[in-house]
């Protein structure tokens, strides 16, 4: 069984570089509540999103300016989408997906490659659990998409857009994934849940 780690607990007696840890006196310690997996990597159970260049994100347009759009990404940081090389225009309240092209030292972001997501709904998801919602080689994503007929846009920032289809079922499934993300056998349970509730 995987082990639960609390902040300040030693993970390795050698300095290693991985997120949510710190090194002191040549040893690596966890900075968060996490689960240690078989490879000795720690998987945080909770936490805010830290923007990284290249991340695919989903957000809401919160301001339309002359030079572009401000986008809310469920983080304390600003994200700006320049309209200089854009063909399409967006309106206040539009849900868009985009890619982070740069993050500066105070974590303000520039976005690019926007796509407007029409209809459907927006769900909040814990950013540290996003990998479980996507699954190995998109397995979880494909499973939910296949059984509900909903397009999904999963932003690394924790916003998940659920397209038109069996939206309510997709939403409740996603919430189940979030609740049970750290318990093994997740895919089987979700498959069961979807076939039970999917009629």
């Amino acid at each position: 069984m995987s082990e639960l780690i609390v902040p300040g607990q030693m993970i390795s007696d050698r300095p290693t570089r991985q997120p949510s840890t710190y090194v002191e006196d040549g040893k690596t310690y966890s900075a968060v509540v996490a689960i240690k997996n078989v490879e000795g990597k720690i998987v945080p159970l909770q936490g805010p999103y830290s923007p990284v260049e290249g991340d695919f994100v989903v957000g809401v347009v919160t301001n339309v300016k002359f030079a572009g759009y401000e986008v809310a990404l469920h983080t304390p940081y600003r994200a700006f989408l320049s309209s200089r090389e854009l063909r399409d225009t967006f309106e206040l309240g539009d849900i868009i997906s985009a890619e982070i092209i740069s993050v500066d030292e105070v974590k303000s972001m520039m976005l690019d490659n926007p796509r407007c997501l029409r209809g459907g709904m927006l769900a909040e998801f814990s950013p540290v659990k996003i990998p479980r919602l996507i699954g190995k080689k998109n397995s979880m994503l494909e499973l939910i998409r296949g059984k509900t007929g909903c397009e999904l846009a999963i932003g690394k920032n924790g916003y998940v857009w659920i397209g038109p289809g069996k939206t309510a079922l997709a939403f409740s499934t996603i919430m189940k994934v979030e609740r049970e993300a750290h318990i093994s056998g997740l895919t089987n349970r979700i498959e069961e849940y979807l076939s039970k509730n999917g009629k």
């Binding site: 609390v6 300040g8 509540v33 830290s50 304390p76």
Partner: protein, 249 residues
């Protein structure tokens, strides 16, 4: 009214505890729905609720730092928490002081540099008080911060030691605090044992302080084990799809 006798003839204290014994302590993590992290501590007759929000946008903006998250703390006593009057007219001198010392305790362990231009809010409500609320508050807030996923160098646990009838004793109750000779709340970083908070009322000799520190250090090992257990239980609880909370001592 004269000063009550605080030690029984058999050397036990008024509530039957030995000198180096903690009051019954129960900690639960993740007790609030909408806070990013939360914890509840039931310690003797103290009941403390802590909620953590953030990192979130810093307000007012001119207070934000481009280098680190601002840490803000509000310690508040509910109007119904004790016999004396509390909280009817906003923050008191005492609660402002406690908010400050608790904030400074956590400024030592929160890795604030990871979240520039933001703030982290720690809200602590004392629902019922019986001596040692600042220690209970720190213990609860540390669990709430860990639950919120805020990066911490270390967990923090706190306990008071003091002098009762000339004897160094652990975890003073309200009577022992009011009528004893000295009260010294101490907070430790759990891993490396750093002292993050040390205050003192009354007088202690150098030897008594050393003895008290050692007593508190031993007790904090037990407290931090309970804190880790609370976090573990919170995540195991998610397995059943619901939170199970048994806070009876």
């Amino acid at each position: 009214m004269g000063k009550p006798k605080l030690l029984n003839d058999d050397g036990k204290r008024l509530d039957g505890r030995a000198l180096d014994e903690l009051r019954p302590l129960k900690i639960a993590a993740r007790v609030l729905n909408d806070a990013n992290g939360s914890a509840y501590v039931h310690w003797g007759k103290n009941r403390v609720l802590a909620g953590v929000y953030g990192p979130r946008e810093c307000i007012p903006k001119h207070n934000s730092s481009p280098y680190a998250a601002q840490i803000k703390c509000r310690y508040n006593m509910a109007p119904f928490c004790s016999l004396e009057e509390h909280g009817r007219s906003g923050p008191s001198r005492r609660s402002v002081e406690l908010s400050k010392v608790i904030r400074e305790t956590f400024e030592n362990v929160i890795i604030a540099g990871a979240y520039p231009k933001t703030q982290i809010d720690i809200y602590i409500e004392i629902l019922q008080s019986d001596g040692g609320t600042r220690c209970a508050a720190i213990t609860a807030a540390a669990v709430a911060l860990a639950d919120a996923g805020i990066p911490l160098k270390d967990m923090v646990s706190a306990v008071a030691v003091g002098k009762v009838e000339g004897k160094i004793s652990l975890d003073l109750s309200k009577e022992e605090d009011n009528f004893g000779q000295s009260d010294m709340p101490i907070a430790f970083a759990s891993r490396n044992g750093d002292v993050l908070l040390l205050q003192m009322d009354g007088q202690l000799t150098k030897e008594e302080i050393a003895q008290g520190l050692q007593m508190a250090r031993n007790a904090c090992v037990k407290i931090s084990a309970l804190q880790a257990e609370a976090l573990r239980t919170a995540y195991d609880g998610a397995k059943n799809g619901e939170k199970q909370l048994d806070l009876s001592i």
